[in-house]
Symmetry: C2
Subunit: 190 residues, 2 copies
Amino acid sequence: MRRNPERRLALIDAAIEVLAKEGARGLTFRAVDAEAAVPPGTASNYFANRDDLFTQVGGRIYERLLPDEATMARGMEGVQDETRYTELMHELVERVSAFNSGYLALLELRLESTRRPELRAVLTKRIRQDIDDNIGYHAASGLPGDSTGVVLLYLTLNWLIVERLTLPDIFTEQEMRELVDAAVRRSMKA
Amino acid sequence: MRRNPERRLALIDAAIEVLAKEGARGLTFRAVDAEAAVPPGTASNYFANRDDLFTQVGGRIYERLLPDEATMARGMEGVQDETRYTELMHELVERVSAFNSGYLALLELRLESTRRPELRAVLTKRIRQDIDDNIGYHAASGLPGDSTGVVLLYLTLNWLIVERLTLPDIFTEQEMRELVDAAVRRSMKA
């Protein structure tokens, strides 16, 4: 197995684009090589098999979806009230939607995980961790609301992003903004 | 094109199973024939092309996801309070989850619709109609809450079902029940 970390990352990022464009069945070593514009046979030197590729893609998407340090630090500053909470959730929806190939690839991975127990185990662990991190971040921030509200927002905003990326004409941009506002406000009311 | 309506329906139902099991790329006429246990070449006599098949599958899933008349009628009887609302939403989650191949196939169709404008148009119209029907049903029922709450519940419960069907170990059954309870209660608080 080859060990050039930059090349490996470039191949995984290419795999994300292939997944989003072609679906899980289209994710072959050959398609990854073509998308990454590297010689045929390259990807097969970096990944043990397709299971390995699927698993590494899952981890990488989460890495790329996280906010950068500056955004995280800014989030902890200033008044932690409903207005700030709403602002953060709008930022989150924008950030995730902007990496639309990553989000679509993640949906493909979820569907693929119904057929691959190993991938399901990796995704379950990663996503449960992500939910727990969100709950921890929220508790430490002093933002209003409780942990149930954090999980409800996670559910609501995920499907809102699904709508936006797969059937963008279901809701107008204005309706989507109002739904984020309402989701934050109501999620806090225990 | 053949005209036997029962045969057509059996082929579409077989296509739903193929979609859920194999993904959008696996949905070929050959795979549908095999799943429906009919002679090779049958599906190609019933559908103009794959686009036509995708579109008909989308409509059929919605048809099968709707509650039956008895359930609808029962929903309109008795006290229309928060307890009833919660009960109805638990029933909805159970009904949709029980047709898991249909729900997974619908997710596959959504992803496929990012590549097929015609399918996207059909799904957008059908799903927007479904949301409007839910809003209308809610308004006519006398259940508590407003139309924004109906849409928020639609978003929240859809992703909860995604979790349940794709990564069932993220939340326990008990956590899922509590999330439905909380989603209903908080969605009503404008």
